[in-house]
Amino acid sequence: MANTALVAEHTARTLYDHLPLLQVLVPFCAAPLIVLLGSRRLAWPLAFVSSAVALIISVMLMMSVREGGYISYTMGGWSPPLGIEYRIDTVNAYVLMLISAIGTVVLPFAYVSVKDEILSKNHSLFYACWMLCLTGLLGMVATGDAFNVFVFLEISSLSTYVLVAQGAARDRRALTAAYDYLIMGTIGATFFVIGLGMLYMATGTLNMADLADRIADQGANRTVRSGFAFIVVGLGLKVAMFPLHLWLPKAYTFAPSAVTVFLSATATKAALYVLMRFIFSVYHPDFSFTTNALEIIFLPLAIIAMFSASFIAAFQINFKRMLAYSSIAQVGYMLLGIAILTETGLTAALLHMFNHGLAKALLFMGVGALVLRTGGAFYTQISGLGRKMPLTCGAIVVGGLSLIGVPGTAGFLSKWLLVQAALERVSENSLFLLVSIAIVLSSLLAVVYVWRVFEVLYLREPNPDSTATEAPLMMLIPMWILAGSCLWFGLSTDFLYDIANQAALGLLDGSMGMLDSNKTLGVE
């Protein structure tokens, strides 16, 4: 590679140069610090400060790569492809920003919710696990080394299992949910490693950019192709791609509220990013097997997910479980955007990733607030609370509207783009007309399940013996920050659209200038 020599000379000097590493290192150091201090009182402030720092770092990274180009950070000065490289481009920075933003916004909410839902002796360890989970998610997005992705994936997964199991203080089914997730998650991660092993056999490298180079040179052979199959299945389990989603409803339903908020908005998104990275950057979509996999497997599965999961969601009697099923359906939209395989489709997928992250985090926070006041999220328990908890329920309405994709909310833009992307391809293949109809119809199903919640909250009589009062300020502030951003990104669409579009262009380019040595940044 032409730019290897350049990268080798790049020795990081200032703190600014170390940003890609600090992005991961700050929460990573916070985790053992929380354990060592062992103080219940210090755990939360430490966690909050380090996520806030991570957020600031990710915004700074975003600012430096939003026009395109990438930052290459070499671990310990060992130049890639031998050394581990962190490579930040627009797509990375975008997902990093989403994860750290959600991580930071959720923590004030978690402060109240965790106190209520988790045994107090576990609090400091809980926040340590939270930080490890954040580290893993940020790491797997930031890194440019394929095996490093696996390591961070497992860091985040292992801490996720622990976090989910913490719900056992309220309902013992959280334990089996965590166990099921552990079994499936481990199988998924191991499949991913097998795929990487095959890639390594075929190419002799693990650096993503180098992998892309070498696969492009040698073309597709059977090892490379089976590697692709293993990687897609492995990551599909983590993404909760339709037939591999079985762990999700249970894990989301029984995990503590704060954990569900965090996971629903970040974990599947980070895995989805890695999937995109492998499909578009490592394996170029020009390969026929990549295109085939997308059109023959991803596209139908995405549509089935959109319908079946939405349909199941409509029949739930538990708000939290309903949202979990809705998450599977929404992952379907994102996969559909990827499978359409155009610039518009990818932009829509990336936008939907962000918008759905905001809306789902907001809705799950709403659930958390209702659970705090009523002790459960069954529709009978939360009926008629619209009058008693107006601010909480108002935020839920905003989130629900964004989930449906009502104009004026963030969700509208991404669904609109998705329909547009499908219509753009009608001239090639008239089946895409059906795809665009499917998107609209499944949105109607979203109307059904969201409306049920509105009906329960506003049109029913409250329980006569209900003593519910408005949620505490620590919960309302993060909820309304997210509700505000749902509305703001719905009305002022340019900012996110430009970034997502730039990111989509980067991905379709053979990505991040992975094959293009001219577009470097931060490398002198």
């Binding site: 013992r172 092993g197 693990l206 009978t380």
Partner: protein, 151 residues
Amino acid sequence: MGQLFNLQFLTGHIHYLLFIILMMTGLFIVVDKTNLVKKIIGLNIFQASVFMFYVSIGKVTGGTAPIFPMDDKYHVDKEALQGIVYSNPLPHVLILTAIVVGIATTSLGLALIIRIRESFNTIDEEDILNIEQEMTRDDNNKHRDVAEGLT
């Protein structure tokens, strides 16, 4: 494609065959067994197969351990270095990481099983499933009126 069954090909790729057999054994145990501990054991076998796979792809024909030949004063023997073929150490190093991850997963899984045993009083998946279905049915009965009201 002349020969479907080629003995030389099979013996030459025996490690892949073993890897596949072990991997399928592990996966089968995970899927088939209802005992939670046995599932974890199956998961371990499954992971061990992948470790084997990685270690075997590092093998270079005629390769030796990747250690520089040194004399008794720890100087690298430049002449002995000529013509030596080393096995590839990188997959071995990678799989060390994966082994550590595997241990963490196993211990977490076992810890979860202990907690499951404490609260469900069984570690058999089918019994747990029955208990959980019972719990779900209770929930549904308790909160039914809403579901009935709409459907």
